[in-house]
């Protein structure tokens, strides 16, 4: 019996230096476009990110929830220690996969 395996879709975004802040609008648009296709995984490369604020957390949380409702997930990659401490402490880890840098 032949079975077909659905191919996973994956998209990658690169975060700016500040997740949120002045880049919040830009990030939002990227996330909207990226989540519109209901990818299985949306990867956010945080290698350039040095700062995150509550708006950024909110955007990530919204994107993560949206993806999870569609069966996908948001993965933050190359997260710095400081940003990791923030997103982990505030409980974002429930909706977003966090991978530290290094």
């Amino acid at each position: 019996m032949a079975t077909s395996k659905k191919k996973k879709t994956c998209k990658t975004l690169k975060a700016g230096a500040h997740i949120g802040g002045a880049d919040a609008e830009k990030l939002k648009k990227k996330l909207i476009r990226a989540t519109a296709g209901r990818p299985d995984e949306l990867r956010l490369d945080c290698s350039a990110a040095t700062d995150i604020d509550a708006i950024g957390v909110g955007l990530l949380a919204a994107a993560g929830r949206q993806l999870s409702e569609g069966g996908g997930r948001l993965r933050m990659k190359n997260v710095s220690e400081t940003i990791y401490a923030v997103v982990d402490t505030v409980g974002l880890g429930r909706y977003v996969v966090l991978e530290k840098a290094g």
Binding site: K28, I32, G58, R65, T82, I83, V90
Partner: protein, 1109 residues
């Protein structure tokens, strides 16, 4: 924590008051709009509430913050068309606005006010669950979302709540919590919102988290994504609630220093893993007693302990950015309700304690708001300019004084005077406020009251821009409110009644303000049922406020004004709206205190109109300065009608007595007179102008003269009038023997009005009018009725300001219509008297074409006509050939100051017989003979040859004194008569009884000029009394026939019937003596009848009588 009013707080108070100023009317407009929501209006109100909330949060005014937060919720839903603003919703919003206003007016205690019930209602309304007033102990709503410890945080701190329940969301944290507790750490459940508590406060999230992680360990965390909108273009995270289980060494009293979210959002685990809100937790971890609980914590959202810490809002979320977008606000509001639930639950336990806490009683309003004014910059600029001008003026004056140049001093003084007036006016303007500030509340008043009473009322406001002094604005609020409420309650009928009466179902009340004659007029009129005067009388009589007798004599206007009587109420039952009977009199009293006048008009079935007049300002008022009892007093110009001075010799004639009141006739009206000294209880004095000496006034009645002797008797020894004074009045025959003509006996009257009543205030002296600064009465005099205040005069002395309304009460001038009543009585009496009054036959003629003259017709021998050519000039005198002889002719203008004889070809000659000779008075026709009761004015136009004037046939007619004319022109004709005169100083006195002042004056003069002394009496009763008093002096009695109290016949009968006086001859003086009168006179003993104005015959008769006696 005590709340202090510093500058920032003051600004918040003022701005909040401004926001709330229009909010009431805006709510009413929203209600009226219904489903058709005016978004601009909603946004306006929303912004107002939001601004107040933001400021309150910043100031730590948690109750204000809570309340405005709930209002925002509702307004947000209305704006989003999720809710239609019906009456119930608007009622609650209005109530919230009222409560806000109260709290803002006394911010120091605003946190003590119990707003829990109202807040709960508003929250329920916004959630659509409002049905009935919520119980303070009601279960908190289940607003919990997944990932929160909803129940654990709020329901109770009871140890019976097991750890299992509390940790259901964080099972993994159980071990960590136990371990941390075992380590002696404090473990907390922290509820914070990343957006509210961090982002909007401008904090760095990374630093915030770093601080947290540096001071303890996060044992569990949860983010509530249910409250986060889906990702979209419009996405703007307004809230991001997060809960943390945090273990730290920080003690409960310090933990909020770390998070800065308010203690109501921090819960502590106890040993049994039960959660306690930190608001109730003492350091021992048990629920705190009231004494131990910090006040901030006990009231819910805690206020920061130090000014540095940001305050918290309803949900323990601080507000840093007050310009949040509405959608975010809605989300946050919803989220905040969860916390509010917890707070309310927490507060439920504290309910009794909170309720027992001192709730600010209604009415105790601080003066924080009222102590400030908003003034337009242009006005301040004007004040600055004027201040500069004043400085220049002062410098100018100083320089002028140095130079000692009086002209410069005068110029500088004038300049300073002008600038002072402008400065005063400008300063007054700073205090002026639009009456709309007061009117603005009435739509709400009318709305609420009409709903309560089931009536439909439309309120029309006009003249909202009219400005009044701030003090008056504040003071008229209550009286106007009462009047408006009365109009709704008592005036406007219910719709059914109105329709039956053929009126529109919707009643109409008009509240109007306008300027007129330097005053502000306020009119409150309604088209209701009006006042039933008879019912008012019935009520007043039943309450014993007036007697039935008084009621019977009342006019319609008097009946309507009964509602101003204290204790008056016609309401069938006392309601909280009106009907306690303490309203209208207090209203009137309060308005009177402001210098206002109140009048009421009403037509049954049609409506009532109340008119109020108020001065523009109370601070500086124009006034009339008067003197009484040696002291000066000020009468506010607004109460002053006119000034009246009655010369001394007119006092006796013009002051009449009606009933027991002294009155003066003023242009046909009778004016009651009140002596100021009597009312205020000081010694009566008068200032003798000759020596400027103040002397006691011994007059009993106003019409009496200031003589220690018999008031009606003048003694030549008492008089020292100078000849210069006589010369000063060439056209007035000033008798130096006549004390009545002394200026010191003149009456000074200030005619004042209070409402519809006028009366005359008799004072000693009148000064100039002045603008005075009104000062309050000192504490020693504050209970003194009759005085409205005090002022300091230019010489530094104090003058009391009279309250004319109170003076009227003190003088028992308690009826609006007293003067009219007196007039009615007097008119009736006059009419009755006129039926039997002395009637005089007069011959009317002219000399110039437009001057009318009259002489008693009984003095006229005949009337002839002469051609001009037949008038001859002989020896400087005019004569005509007449009946074989020469008839001397004269004209009135040869003696009196009248126009010369008209230049005609022929003239009339009125022939008289005097001093045994005939002479003719040249006149111009036509002539007429009239018989009427004439009111002769013996003073106004009195001059040599003219005895007075009267209105005859619509013309001012001069009464010719023929005797005086002839005597002046031909004194030698009367030499024989003079020889027969009594020598000076004779003791022979003639008692003369005559009620007519004119005839009394004339005849008395005739007699006195013959050398006799005259004792005059105004009626038979007085004559009888005087006769007994002067029995030894009186040698003859001359009496009028028609007199009040006792006529001439009765007097004669008494005289002839008393053996002491039976010997006295009695001459009856009359204008017309009918045969019947003469017969009656003879019967009672009258010895002779004479015509009053026939001087010659009268004197002849007197001489004959005395000679025979």
């Amino acid at each position: 924590m005590s709340i202090e009013i510093d500058e920032t707080m003051q600004i918040f108070i003022e701005e909040s008051a401004e926001h709330l100023a229009d909010i009431e009317n805006d709510f009413l407009a929203i209600e009226e709009g219904g489903a058709d929501v005016d978004e601009d209006l909603i946004n306006k109100v929303y912004r107002a509430a939001h601004s107040i909330k933001g400021g309150a949060g910043f100031m730590g005014l948690t109750n204000i913050q809570n309340l405005t937060h709930e209002m925002e919720n509702i307004l947000g839903k209305i704006r989003n068309h999720e809710m239609v603003p019906n009456g119930e919703i608007i009622n609650h919003l209005l109530k919230a606005a009222d409560t806000l206003r109260e709290m803002i007016s006394d911010v120091t205690t605003s946190n003590d006010v119990d707003v829990s019930a109202l807040t709960a209602d508003l929250a329920a309304i916004s959630q659509g669950t409002f049905e009935a007033p919520q119980d303070a102990d009601s279960q908190p709503q289940d607003g919990a979302s997944s990932g929160t410890l909803s129940e654990a945080g709020g329901q109770s701190g009871e140890p019976d709540d097991g750890p299992g329940d509390a940790l259901s969301e964080f099972p993994e944290a159980r071990e960590g919590i136990e371990a941390a507790l075992a380590d002696g750490k404090n473990v907390y459940l922290i509820k914070l919102d990343l957006i509210e508590d961090v982002q909007r406060r401008g904090k760095s999230l990374m630093d915030y988290i770093a601080d947290i992680t540096a001071t303890g360990g996060v044992l569990a965390r949860a983010m509530d994504l249910e409250r986060v909108d889906p990702l979209s273009e419009e996405f703007e995270p307004a809230n991001l609630p997060v809960q943390l289980v945090f273990a730290t060494v920080f003690r409960p009293e310090d933990i909020d220093d770390l998070f800065e979210i308010g203690l109501q959002n921090i819960f502590q685990f106890d040993e049994k893993l039960a959660l306690h809100p930190l608001a109730e937790t003492s350091t021992t971890g048990v629920p705190a007693t009231p004494a131990e609980t910090p006040p901030a914590a006990a009231e819910g959202p805690g206020a920061p302990d130090t000014p540095e810490k940001p305050p918290v809002d309803l949900a323990g979320k601080g507000v840093a950015d007050t310009s949040e977008t509405p959608p975010a606000a809605a989300v946050r509001a919803e989220n905040a309700n969860v916390h509010a639930t917890h707070d309310r639950a927490g507060q439920a336990e504290q309910g009794p304690r909170k309720a027992a806490a001192s709730k600010k009683p209604a009415g105790q309003v601080s003066s924080a708001v009222e102590a400030s004014l908003r003034v337009h910059v242009s006005l301040l600029d004007s004040l600055m300019d004027l201040a500069g001008e004043l400085v220049l003026g002062r410098n100018q004056l100083l320089q002028a004084m140095t130079s000692r140049d009086s002209r410069l001093v005068e110029a500088a003084s004038q300049r300073i005077d002008l600038i002072t007036s402008e400065l005063q006016e400008a300063i007054m303007l700073t205090r002026m406020q639009a009456i709309g500030n007061v009117f603005g509340k009435f739509p709400r008043v009318v709305r609420d009251l009409s709903r309560k009473l089931g009536k439909q009322v439309e309120l029309v406001l006009e003249g909202k821009e009219v400005e009044l002094d701030k003090t008056i604005i504040e003071s008229i609020n209550d009286p106007l409110t009462h009047l408006v409420r009365n109009a709704v309650d008592h005036g406007i009928e219910d719709p059914e009644q109105r329709l039956k009466a053929g009126k529109n179902a919707v009643g109409r009340i008009v509240l109007k303000a306008y300027h007129e004659a330097g005053q502000v007029n306020i009119v409150i009129s309604d088209d209701g049922k009006g006042l039933d005067g008879d019912r008012l009388v019935e009520t007043a009589v039943s309450k014993g406020l007036i007697s039935e007798e008084q009621a019977g004599a009342m006019s319609e206007k008097e009946k309507v004004n009964l509602i101003f009587l204290p204790g008056f109420s016609t309401a069938r039952e006392v309601t909280d709206v009106s009907g306690r009977g303490v309203g209208m009199d207090v209203v009137k009293t309060n308005l009177d205190k402001l210098g206002g006048q109140t009048e009421i008009e009403s037509t049954p079935g049609e409506g009532t109109t109340i008119r109020i007049k108020l001065p523009l300002t109370l601070a500086i008022i124009p006034s009339q300065i008067v003197q009484a009892g040696g002291e000066r007093y000020a009468i506010p110009q607004v109460s002053l009608v006119e000034l009246l001075r009655i010369p001394a010799d007119q006092v006796k004639n013009r002051i009449e007595t009606v009933g027991d009141a002294e009155v003066v006739r003023l242009r046909g009206d009778l004016l009651p007179l009140v002596r100021l000294t009597d009312v205020i209880g000081v010694e009566r004095t008068f200032t003798d102008p000759e020596g400027r000496v103040r002397k006691p006034d011994q007059r009993e009645n106003l019409a009496d003269r200031r003589s220690r002797h018999t008031p009606l008797h003048a003694s030549a020894k008492d008089d020292d009038r100078s000849a210069d004074e006589i010369e000063a009045h060439p056209h007035r025959r000033v008798n130096p023997l006549d004390r009545r003509q002394r200026a010191a006996s003149a009456l000074n009257i200030a005619v004042v009005s209070c409402g519809a009543m006028k009366y005359g205030l008799v004072v000693d002296r009148l000064f100039d009018s002045e603008e005075i600064v009104v000062k309050p009465l000192g504490r020693h005099l504050k209970n003194s009725k009759g005085y409205a205040g005090a002022t300091i005069m230019g010489d530094g002395r104090v003058a009391l300001i009279l309250d004319v309304s109170h003076l009227a009460h003190m003088a028992r001038l308690n009826s609006v219509e007293n003067s009219e009543r007196a007039m009615d009585i007097a008119e009736s009496a006059e009419k009755a008297a006129q039926l039997k009054a002395d009637r005089q036959s007069m011959l009317i003629f002219k000399c110039a074409e437009d001057e009318h003259f009259a002489v008693p017709i009984n003095l006229v021998e005949r009337i002839e006509k002469v051609e001009g050519a037949h008038i001859e000039q002989v020896g400087g005198k005019r004569v005509m050939q007449y009946r074989g002889g020469s008839l001397p002719l004269f004209c009135i203008d040869e003696v009196a100051q009248v126009k010369p004889l008209a230049d005609h070809d022929s003239h009339l000659v009125i022939v008289f017989s005097l001093a045994g000779r005939e002479l003719g008075l040249l006149a111009t026709g036509p002539v007429d003979a009239v018989e009427m009761a004439i009111e002769v004015d013996g003073e106004t136009l009195r001059q040599p040859g003219i005895m007075g004037s009267a209105i005859i046939g619509g013309h001012t007619t001069l009464m010719v004194d023929v005797y005086e004319l002839v005597q002046t022109l031909n004194p030698d004709w009367f030499a024989e008569s003079e020889a027969m005169r009594e020598p000076e100083g004779t003791d022979t006195a003639i008692l003369y009884a005559e009620d007519s002042a004119f005839f009394r004056s004339q005849v008395k003069r005739f007699i006195e000029e013959e050398g006799y002394r005259v004792i005059e009496a105004k009626d038979g009763v007085v004559a009888w009394e005087l006769l007994q008093e002067h029995a030894a002096e009186v040698a003859l009695v001359a009496t009028d026939i028609e007199m009040p109290n006792m006529d001439g016949f009765a007097l004669t009968e008494k005289i002839k019937g008393d053996e002491r006086f039976a010997h006295l001859p009695v001459i009856a003086l009359t204008t017309l003596a009918s045969d019947a009168d003469q017969a009656r006179g003879k019967a009672v003993g009258i010895d002779d009848y004479q015509i009053k104005l026939d001087r010659e015959k009268l004197i002849t008769s007197i001489r004959a009588m005395l000679q025979n006696a």
